[in-house]
């Protein structure tokens, strides 16, 4: 009995730590989505599909053309950043004065397009990088090196965004724009340009997430569906546009998924997360409503 408890505790601790590691990548995704919502006031439903395209880019560069992972990563980030900017320029910008719901649905159309594009171009096979990263052992606990790397890279990415937002003129404008859109011109700010930059930044974050997720998961055209919904829940629970709320909610959800996965499949972890979300809405709506609209 005692031995059983010991092992159980170690599994539990391992799951908790794995949850934290997963939280890093989720926080990256939530940050990107929140950034775009906060600045442009639009939700990219297709955000996870941008990540999917990035994962394919990584796969093809690394696996097909033999580019080293660390050289392919910056290219992928750049590519998805360009995709984000293009998405804004082609789809969102023409709809800026349309009802918000139309903007949101248009990005839903893009979701369709990206998924079917991936199906047409890459087929529906599951593909992976084929990079086997070592497993780190601490005592009796095992952690995948990929997860640790992802966590660190996600943190570095978030710190970089933080520095950009606080230290640069453009970053300050990005923070200012949601507080008073009309007077931005008086500051000499071209809001259109800020929107494009923000969209590219949001894309870059999706690109970074893609580089990290491809280390742990197979890529297929519908891979976005496995972490898109969870990202939306995180953003709603943390408050759309609320960076800190999103950050905290990411780790809460990651823990639920990780601990839920301890007892059964990962999918049940998601179900648990959704149930938790509904319960939270009942008991702490104020947390949800913070900084709404």
């Amino acid at each position: 009995m005692q031995a059983f408890l010991d092992i159980f505790d170690i599994y539990l601790l391992e799951a908790v730590i794995n949850g934290i590691l997963l939280g890093g990548v989720l926080a990256l995704l939530a940050l990107g989505l929140n950034l775009i919502f906060g600045v442009i006031d639009v939700t990219w439903i297709c955000y996870a599909e941008l990540v999917m395209i990035g994962m394919y880019a990584m796969y093809f560069m690394v696996q097909y053309y033999g580019v080293s992972y660390f050289i392919a990563a910056p290219f992928t980030i750049l590519l998805v950043a360009l995709l984000g900017a293009a998405l804004h320029y082609l789809v969102i910008a023409p709809l800026l004065t349309a009802p918000p719901i139309n903007q949101l649905l248009a990005t839903g159309g893009v979701l369709f397009v990206l998924q079917s594009f991936a199906t047409v171009a890459f087929g529906i096979d599951f593909r992976n990088l084929g990079i086997r990263l070592p497993v780190l052992a601490f005592g009796d606990m095992n952690f995948s090196y990929a997860r640790l790397l992802s966590f660190i890279a996600a943190l570095v990415g978030m710190v970089a965004v933080y520095l950009f937002m606080t230290r640069t003129f453009t970053g300050t404008a990005i923070r200012a724009i949601s507080q008073d859109r009309q007077i931005m011109a008086l500051m000499g700010v071209d809001t259109k340009r800020i929107y494009i930059i923000t969209s590219a930044l949001g894309g870059a974050l999706a690109g970074l997430a893609a580089c990290l997720l491809v280390l742990q998961y197979d890529v297929h055209p519908f891979v976005g569906l496995s972490f898109g919904p969870i990202t939306f829940l995180i953003c709603v629970l943390g408050g759309l546009g609320n960076f800190i709320g999103g950050f905290i909610a990411s780790f809460v959800f990651a823990e639920i998924i990780s601990l839920g996965g301890l007892f059964s499949d990962l999918e049940w972890g998601y179900v648990l997360a959704f149930a938790f979300f509904i319960v939270m809405m009942f008991i702490r709506p104020a947390g949800l409503l913070a900084r709404r609209r």
Binding site: G108, G109, S116, F117, T119, L233, L240
Partner: protein
């Protein structure tokens, strides 16, 4: 048009639709008609909420529940769809209430509502996939062929019967639409979609009204899922649940126009004919091309024709009804 003439037009149209399969028997065309009727019903169900500004992307979840619960009860418990369908509808309705209540009670609207419902349909898809031991996961699921009474099993081999079933269901959808149209709830919900606070101040029970329409919409969507499953005899999580199906409903409703009763039907006709001709046009040589073109067209639609085809046409036909303020 007077009321009598209006009713007469509907009656004649309906009679013509009922007689159609007895004079025209091309099975492929009937098949397409059945699909159009079933999906029209589903899109009409969605539009019940959508027309009042409640944009839900969770309907893929309700439809999936309708289809899978009915099929699972039949296969595992031998429960007839005549019992299974109501059970599945109750399940979908219960889920709608559980998710809807906190959303409406705590004024979760706009982006927030869309994202919560979006997550809902994503989660239903996950559950169906996760319970692959029972549901077959992403490979799909087939209700067992009936060995005895076909009517008891709600399985028919001929298209004509299915056409009539689908037609009946579709008519029910339109009747519910008109019933809501003439009820007090319609005014309450219109007031809510204009300004929730003002409606509440005027004595409208916002939460109750929204819950009512959500419940009706979810029940009907589950029915659509169940009928679809009985007709096709094969379902996969991707065809009856998930985000893609939810988006498909929204798009079709928008394409047709969701503020007129026949708008969703027009949307279904256009989107299904489009998808079908793209599918045939591209053939088997490139899977996914049809969806790619479809997606691009949808995006263009939202950008250039947001009121929908029927909506825009009607607007052009009767511009005198509401004189614009500038003239």
């Amino acid at each position: 048009m007077t009321r009598q003439a209006h009713l007469a037009a509907w009656a004649v149209g309906l009679a013509a639709l009922v007689m159609l399969p007895f004079v025209y028997r091309d099975p492929y065309h009937l098949h397409i008609l059945v699909l159009i009727l079933i999906w029209s019903f589903a899109y009409t169900s969605w539009s019940m909420m959508g027309r009042f500004g409640l944009v839900s992307l969770g309907h893929g979840g309700f439809m999936g529940i309708g289809a899978y619960v009915t099929a699972l009860l039949w296969n595992h418990l031998g429960l007839s769809p005549w019992v299974g369908i109501p059970v599945s509808m109750v399940a979908a309705g219960a889920l709608a209430l559980i998710v809807g209540y906190p959303c409406f009670r705590f004024r979760i609207t706009g982006h927030y509502f869309v994202l919560v419902t979006l997550a809902l349909s994503g989660i239903v898809l996950q559950v169906i996939t996760a319970t692959r031991d029972w549901t077959g996961g992403s490979l799909g699921y087939t209700p067992n062929r009936a060995t005895g009474n076909k009517l008891w099993a709600l399985q028919f081999d001929d298209k004509t019967t299915w056409y009539l079933v689908a037609l009946a269901v579709w008519v029910v959808g339109l009747v519910v639409w008109h019933w809501i149209d003439r009820s007090m709830s319609r005014y309450a919900l219109e007031a809510i979609s204009e300004d929730e606070d003002a409606a509440a101040a005027a004595g409208v029970d916002v939460t109750a009204e929204k819950l009512k329409i959500t419940l009706i919409s979810a029940l009907m969507t589950a029915l659509a899922g169940a009928i679809y499953c009985q007709y096709q005899m094969f379902i996969t999580p991707d065809t009856v649940s998930g985000i893609a199906v939810s988006l498909q409903m929204v798009f079709a409703a928008i394409v047709g126009g969701l503020f007129v009763s026949l708008g969703p039907t027009v949307g279904a006709i256009i989107t299904i004919l489009l998808a079908e001709s793209l599918r045939i046009g591209f053939g088997t040589r490139a899977v996914g091309w049809d969806n790619l073109v479809y997606g691009v067209l949808l995006v263009l639609f939202i950008i250039f024709l947001p009121k929908g085809i029927l909506g825009s046409l009607l607007e052009r036909l009767k511009p005198q009804r509401k004189p614009s303020p500038s003239s």
